[in-house]
């Protein structure tokens, strides 16, 4: 084995192994009561016995992640197709997409709060009094949370998909058009298959990110039910020190769900013909 390669890759690999290994290992051990904050270690699985609030959290997290990812994929794909086309307004759209990328989700959440709350910008612009405004922020449905993720991740999807299409799509489109393909056929049989791998990868990353992200739902969501990260953080910072294993169990469950989604997406990606 060549030592040079191993030396070059060592800093990154050691850092990742330490942080992921120690972090997740310790989370698993704590979740089964083997590293208690107080008292003696004793194996227990109470954190994994599906309590009602944990089940509600799993359901809500999956709802938020799938709804926002679906919208982001649809909007992102449409944007990408327009960006690699030649229509008017393309540069303006590209500038806006690019500008949305570095916006931290926390800032996005703060801004969406100012947009959709009951005395927010939309209620002022539409002339709806605060009392009559639907509770989009912290309401029964996580509307504002889903909107924030869908907006931010649609820019991400648009960027990834358009980058993968830019060098190939125009030529293929031209050939298909010369061969007599109608616009719908060009979309269905040329653009969509070319975009699929990038779209799948970007959507999977968006889904997994949304599932494990804390601040947006904390700022814009209702007090109950909470998504997994918010529930886990509340238990983690609880004054009741025996809640620690429960917090860790929720964290481990989130990791398992996110990891399974990532692996499934990877398996699907390997099966798409255009991969590599």
């Amino acid at each position: 084995m060549d030592r040079r390669g191993a030396v070059l890759v060592a800093p990154a690999v050691v850092a990742v192994l330490f942080v992921l290994g120690a972090g997740l290992g310790s989370a698993v051990l704590q979740s089964v009561g083997l590293i208690p904050l107080v008292g003696d270690p004793a194996l227990q699985f109470t954190g994994y016995v599906g309590e009602r609030e944990v089940l509600a959290a799993v359901g809500l997290s999956l709802l938020i992640a799938s709804a926002s990812t679906s919208v982001a994929a649809l909007v992102g794909l449409s944007t990408a197709l327009l960006l690699v086309g030649s229509g008017r307004g393309r540069r303006m759209l590209a500038a806006l997409v690019t500008a949305s990328i570095p916006v931290p989700h926390l800032v996005g959440a703060a801004s969406v709060g100012l947009l959709l709350s009951d005395s927010g910008l939309m209620s002022r612009w539409l002339g709806v009094p605060a009392q009559a405004w639907p509770s989009l922020v912290a309401g029964a449905w996580p509307t504002a949370v889903i909107f924030e993720y869908a907006w931010k991740e649609s820019a991400f999807v648009a960027l990834v998909v358009s980058a993968s299409l830019a060098s190939r799509l125009p030529d293929y489109q031209e050939t298909a058009a010369l061969l007599g393909a109608r616009p719908w056929a060009r979309f269905r049989h040329v653009a969509l298959p070319l975009a699929t791998p990038a779209l799948l990868a970007a959507s999977a990353i968006a889904f997994v990110y949304t599932l494990g992200s804390y601040e947006v739902a904390w700022l814009l969501g209702a007090a109950y039910p909470e998504p997994l990260p918010v529930l886990s953080y509340r238990l983690f910072t609880s004054t009741d020190l025996t809640a620690r294993p429960d917090a860790m169990a929720v964290a481990v469950m989130t990791t398992v769900i996110a990891g399974s989604v990532a692996l499934t997406a990877l398996a699907l990606l390997r099966r798409t013909a255009a991969w590599r």
Binding site: L24, T98, S100, L106, A110, L114
Partner: protein, 285 residues
């Protein structure tokens, strides 16, 4: 193209422009309002009071804290990612696919879960909070820097290094005059993304820092979770958006200059799409 299709396309472009711009509109309006009462659609008085009133109150130290974390994360994650990408490109690693997957793994795992578990470990090892934050965020940035540097290395030709060596160049000279210039666009993109990971982080700083580390996002979160502080939230948010946005605009400008200064570069049959001003991922987290 047929006329109805063109109308559909125009409407779609217009709707998408609104979709991407609308969520940030409140920040611009609130940050430039001196007075905005009641249900009025626009502020009654415009001005810069939101900014002048928000300065002080620890904003400067929070800004410097965010800046320091961003710079340190970029300074660690970019070279580490570049080295890993080089090793993967050299093709001498034993299990290249395993290594590549491992370096991408942090993207797929929830940061809050990793950090909650790590907290106890860092405490027992007496690792200072700032060091812990930087370590975790560097790992969070590694997938992006490795990915971008691998993309940069795909087009990289090792023959240039060999030629320079034959001509008597030292290792340092090769690094400085061959490798760095050839990989510069990739390095710039990786540095930018790694900086963003540190600059915009909230949950890692909150969990590891335990309230002792105050960064701009920590300040924004505590302000935004209260009520009646819209101008301050907007002013702090704009302060967080300005540096990366200015950097992006400068990079786009520079790229434009470079491209128009060298019109005869080979192998570029088509003008690149404007989105390629930036390569890839996320306003991190």
């Amino acid at each position: 193209m047929t006329t109805p299709l063109r109308t559909v396309r125009r409407t779609l472009v217009l709707l998408l422009l609104v979709w991407f711009a609308l969520p940030l509109a409140p920040l611009v309006l609130w940050a430039s309002s001196d007075t905005w009462r009641g249900a009025s659609p626009l502020p009654q008085e415009w001005g810069v009071q939101a900014f002048t009133a928000s300065l002080g109150d620890g904003v400067t130290s929070a800004l410097l804290g965010s800046l320091a974390i961003g710079v340190v994360v970029a300074a660690l994650a970019t070279p580490a990612g570049a080295m890993a990408a080089r090793a993967l490109r050299l093709g001498t690693l034993k299990r290249p696919r395993l290594v590549a997957s491992l370096l991408l793994a942090p993207v797929a795992l929830p940061p809050f879960a990793v950090v909650m578990g790590l907290d106890v470990v860092l405490l027992r090892l007496h690792v200072p909070a700032a060091l812990g934050v930087v370590l975790v965020l560097t790992v969070a940035a590694l997938p992006y820097t490795t990915y971008l540097m691998r993309a940069a290395y795909v087009a990289y030709d090792f023959d240039y290094e060999d030629e320079a060596r034959t001509l008597g160049a030292s290792d340092l000279a090769i690094w400085w005059r061959v490798r760095l210039p050839l990989l510069a666009p990739g390095i710039a993109g990786a540095t930018f993304l790694a900086f963003l990971v540190g600059w915009s982080d909230y949950i890692v700083t909150l969990l590891v820092g335990g309230g002792r580390l105050v960064t701009l996002p920590i300040l924004i979160a505590s302000t935004a979770s209260g009520t009646g502080s819209e101008p301050r939230v907007a002013a702090l948010s704009i302060a967080a958006l300005a540096p990366p946005t200015v950097a992006l605009a400068l990079a786009a400008l520079l790229r434009h200059r470079l491209l128009s200064a060298r019109p005869h570069t080979t192998g570029k049959p088509k003008a690149p799409s404007p989105v390629h001003a930036v390569t890839l991922p996320r306003g991190a987290t």
